[in-house]
């Protein structure tokens, strides 16, 4: 089980983690399926998690979700975590998990590792602390 702070963008379905859902945006019909962007977090970091199909209705804020073989990659220019076709997201509990809202792994700027272009590394410089999509209500 990887803490969210350790996930790195990659084109492989290898992310195994658990998190609590903090917020959901509106569900969008995207072709045949519906998708829903959400803000999720664990005690180390937050990230944008894209729900797909049935997940959009199954998970609500406060749910603790276990992600098996998920993928953290660019999807239509957004860096999101999702189950993808090969992964699975399952509700395993509610409420009883602590979390932090920064850093947000989806807001970090990543660039290709010069030594290994298949890999991503964090870009030096100022890291946006929190989600710019899910901003705290006043």
């Amino acid at each position: 089980m990887a803490p969210l702070k350790d996930i790195v963008p990659a084109a492989t379905n290898t992310v195994n983690t658990r998190f609590i859902v903090l917020e959901k945006s509106n569900t969008i019909r995207d072709g045949k399926a519906s998708t829903c962007l959400s803000l999720v977090a664990d005690e180390t970091a937050a990230v944008h998690f894209q729900m797909w199909g049935g997940e959009c209705d199954a998970f609500i804020p406060g749910d603790i979700v276990q992600l098996t073989n998920g993928i953290f990659s660019y999807h239509k220019n957004n860096l999101v975590l999702r189950a993808g076709r090969k992964g699975r997201a399952e509700k395993i509990g509610e409420f009883t998990m602590v979390f932090v809202e920064s850093p947000n792994m989806s807001e970090i700027r990543w660039s290709r590792d010069p030594k290994n272009p298949k890999k991503f590394v964090k870009e030096e410089g100022v890291v946006p602390d929190r989600s710019r999509i899910f901003t705290p209500s006043p």
Binding site: G54, A58, A89, E90, K91, T96, V98, F99
Partner: protein
């Protein structure tokens, strides 16, 4: 794995470990579950599997349930302990996920276990009582009330004999539910239910008052909410004017009940295990500044029905009397009990509930006696009053005013006792260092002069020796330091 008949598992929800193990044992033992039953004595492992299989069978195969129970009676060697404790776990963790049939079967099998005096059947009944949600007037919830009342009614003598604690617990629960059920009109079956509840409680109070008395002072708190029901008005009158009617030797005055602190186990009865887990998590792990989301989730989950405001009364009682954080937590940056109660107060919309929540918060103040009472029960009210200054002076004002209203009116014939309780509370809270002095309240210019004068006279006549250093206006000084107190903004909004 095929679909469970025992639990409703939603898509994208992980399998339930208890459900899995019951299902597994059931498929393992299926061949042994039909007569003729093997005569061989099972090994300990086989015995556990058989027990779990019989639970799954009893709950999901109503037409074979009698066979399964006969089977259970034949093999049992542990006083039904494994069978009952598994049902307790199932109830505590998954009652709300049980479909209609397993629910009905669970009640049926519970009544069977009561009849054989199964080990731990008292805890099973208590687990079921906790599943009755306050303020939920839906059919399944009212059904559970009726079913449990039937069990208590049909097994009255046996329970009285063997499980007096569970009977007291049932009295506590149904007295509490009655006040909610009587305020509702126009719900179909409710009249029958109210009748059953009232009959059960009146029987207990009239025939077994000595037992009910053991509930302690909260018995009075619950009864006072029922005075508009004729039978209870009579009980109330006798309590006040003719206590000998209850035929309890030595019981001569209601104040004897006031003196008995209600044990914390009663406050768990009106909080579901899930709600308890969430509250304890909030008060153990969630840091100041992070509570907003948890509070919103809690409110959505537990306080969103039109009637659920009533549960806030029980939650406040639970927080004051049944959740006492360790010193380590108190001195950490975890959110405090008073702050959560401050937030809960803002969730009350109707005055009736608000008054009852404030009463729940101050109840132990009124009768506080160092010998029997716990300072942790009165601490949240004091800290909420002091820490709401200066920004939330309204809260301080409302609470302090309410406390004096109680001192003057709660029981006019025993006013002295109550005034002593309240002043002892102030005294001990200062003496034990919960607050340094009452100066923040007494010198706060934002509070009405009348109220401050009242407090000042109240504590000086009761000779507390409370230090009231200087007379500089604490509030104005505090105002400048408003930023520090901003955590409270987060809490109340």
């Amino acid at each position: 794995m095929n679909q469970s008949k025992l639990l409703k598992i939603n898509p994208h929800e992980s399998e339930n470990p208890l459900d899995l193990s019951l299902k597994e044992s059931f498929s393992l033992c299926q061949s042994q579950l039909r007569p003729p039953f093997p005569l061989k004595i099972p090994s300990p492992t086989e015995y556990s599997h058989l027990n779990l299989a019989l639970i799954y069978g009893t709950l999901t195969e109503p037409n074979l349930a009698k066979t399964h129970i006969t089977h259970l009676h034949a093999i049992v060697v542990d006083g039904y302990k494994l069978f009952t404790t598994t049902l307790i776990n199932l109830t505590n963790q998954n009652y709300h996920k049980l479909p209609e049939t397993p629910r009905a079967q669970l009640i049926w099998v519970t009544s069977q276990l009561v009849q054989v005096s199964a080990v731990k059947v008292d805890s099973l009944l208590i687990s079921l009582l906790r599943q009755i949600s306050g303020g939920d007037f839906s059919e399944p919830n009212l059904w559970l009330c009726v079913k449990l009342l039937e069990i208590f009614d049909q097994n009255w003598d046996r329970l009285l004999d063997e499980q007096p604690l569970v009977l007291k617990s049932a009295v506590f629960v149904f007295l509490r539910l009655l006040s909610d059920h009587y305020r509702l009109v126009g719900i179909g079956n409710l009249d029958d239910l109210k009748r059953l509840e009232a009959d059960f409680c009146v029987k207990a109070l009239r025939q077994r008052f000595a037992l009910c008395m053991k509930i302690g002072r909260d018995l009075v708190r619950l009864l006072q909410d029922l005075v508009f029901i004729p039978e209870f008005r009579e009980i109330w009158k006798d309590l006040l004017f003719d206590p000998s009617k209850f035929q309890v030797p030595g019981f001569t005055d209601i104040s004897q009940l006031y003196c008995v602190r209600t044990s914390s186990q009663y406050f768990l009865l009106r909080i579901s295990p899930e709600m308890e887990t969430h509250l304890r998590f909030l008060l153990t792990h969630v840091k100041w500044g992070n509570q907003k989301r948890y509070q919103a989730w809690f409110a959505k989950k537990h306080l969103s029905l039109p009637g659920s405001e009533t549960v806030i009364i029980d939650i406040v009682r639970f927080i004051c009397c049944a959740h006492h954080p360790s010193n380590e937590i108190i001195h950490s940056d975890v959110i405090s009990r008073w702050a959560v109660i401050g937030w809960l107060l803002t969730c009350c919309r109707k005055n009736y509930f608000l008054a009852n929540v404030k009463l729940a918060l101050f109840y132990d103040w009124l009768f506080f006696d160092e010998k029997v009472d716990n300072i942790m029960n009165i601490e949240p009210a004091m800290l909420l009053m002091v820490n709401s200054l200066p920004q939330y002076v309204d809260i301080t004002h409302t609470l302090l005013e309410f406390l004096f209203l109680l001192v003057d009116n709660y029981d006019v014939h025993r006013k002295e006792m109550i005034a002593r309780g309240a002043s002892t509370s102030f005294g001990i809270l200062v003496r034990k260092g919960v607050i340094r002095s009452l100066e923040p309240l007494i010198s706060c210019s934002l509070l009405s002069p009348l109220l401050r004068e009242r407090l000042s006279t109240f504590v000086s006549t009761s000779n507390l020796g409370v230090v009231m250093k200087g007379s500089s206006d604490f509030c104005s000084r505090q105002l400048e330091r408003t930023r520090v107190a901003e955590c409270h903004v987060e809490v109340s909004k």
